[in-house]
Subunit: 225 residues, 2 copies
């Protein structure tokens, strides 16, 4: 079994990678890190450290041109500021629906890039780190079970039945992901989650708040702080 794992350098994708390495062995795992025009490159630096920790091959690609028509607040070219609120708070204020940090069809594009590479390399599966907190209230519609199921079928059919999409964290919340990763010995000390690009995590954006809560729920300190 050979896998291509989408690696952003955050908690979720690092946990996916830890699991893939445990199941397949590092020599059968390729990590794929894609620059899409985000405001900073801290995530990509984190992805390089995580891949190096496991000794897996890391491929880097750039799709920023395709995302250049979006004004999503995560993108460097955007005029929008990133909201400093937890996802739960955003959901409570705005109701169900896509959040301002949704990058248009980003996950579909990353998964499709991973599929093209997986088929080229003879890999059987692609992994991505969608989870239940991202899917809640359809904040990130490209993290929902409905999207996952359709994309898996598209990849299986579109590859000539050679490749599947896996989303091993789909039914877990962030605290459960951290629990799994801690059990797998995932190198969370190298990860980066913050949407801002400062020297240290801002502690105030949605992903910083959710990360802090996930470590707290597991009764451990965040090793990256």
């Amino acid at each position: 079994m050979k896998k291509v794992v989408l690696l952003s350098g955050g908690i979720d994708s690092t946990t996916c990678l830890a699991q893939a390495v445990q199941v397949c062995g590092a020599e059968n795992v390729t990590a794929l890190c894609v620059f899409y025009g985000q405001k900073h490159s801290r995530e990509m630096a984190a992805a390089r450290k995580v891949a190096a920790y496991y000794g897996v091959r890391l491929l880097e690609q750039d799709i920023a041109g395709i995302m250049s028509y979006s004004n999503c607040s995560l993108l460097a070219a955007s005029s929008e500021a990133i909201e400093h609120k937890s996802y739960a708070q955003q959901l409570a204020e705005h109701g169900e629906g896509t959040v301002a940090t949704y990058v248009p069809f980003r996950n579909g594009l990353l998964i499709s890039a991973a599929a093209a590479i997986a088929i080229s390399l003879g890999a059987d599966a692609i992994c991505y780190g969608a989870h239940a907190d991202d899917a809640a209230g359809r904040a990130y519609p490209d993290c929902t079970p409905e999207f996952y199921a359709a994309m898996d079928t598209a990849i299986y059919e579109g590859s000539g039945k050679l490749c599947h999409l896996e989303a091993p964290l789909l039914n877990k919340n962030k605290a459960q992901i951290v629990e799994l990763g801690l059990n797998l010995g995932a190198p969370y000390q190298y990860t980066w989650s913050c949407y801002e690009g400062g020297d240290r995590p801002c502690g105030e954006c949605g992903t910083c708040i959710d990360r802090a809560n996930a470590f707290k729920a597991n009764g451990v300190d965040d090793p990256a702080l």
Copy 2:
């Protein structure tokens, strides 16, 4: 209704564009032409002429890096030659299954890029030119009705129910596509189908043979010859 049409510069995508312009008006149609590392740029030059003919906005993107791990015979970096046989002949010789000119998950990647751009531009639909001859025998698995249906669901769900995928030629063969395009006045004189990059179409590759037969079936000369 606003549409993003994937435009390669060949017969199928030019027919899709002709139809989209008729339905929506040129001002509501954006054409997307993507370089993926193919052996020549004749197609892209054709796409520019076709887009200019209709006065639609043309966006160009480059995903050749993502395809650089493939040895598909259509790619410039490939060590494989392009087979000079019709698809029907290839199918008869090799049986069902993917042909050597299948570029791994190319259509999934192009459609995902179109989806990202469509959502960014506020378009409701993406069109691509998959048709029955490409799907036959699963020669191009990313042209089958099964792939199309799954990808449409993935885009609809993954966009937060904002965007659909259309494949208006899905049940037509090449001759029926040319019939439709002739009725729409599609500017076939500007199109390029040949897989080789010579000054004139080679007349011997699968797509040249199929194109010639499609015009012959309609009793007209190919205006590009």
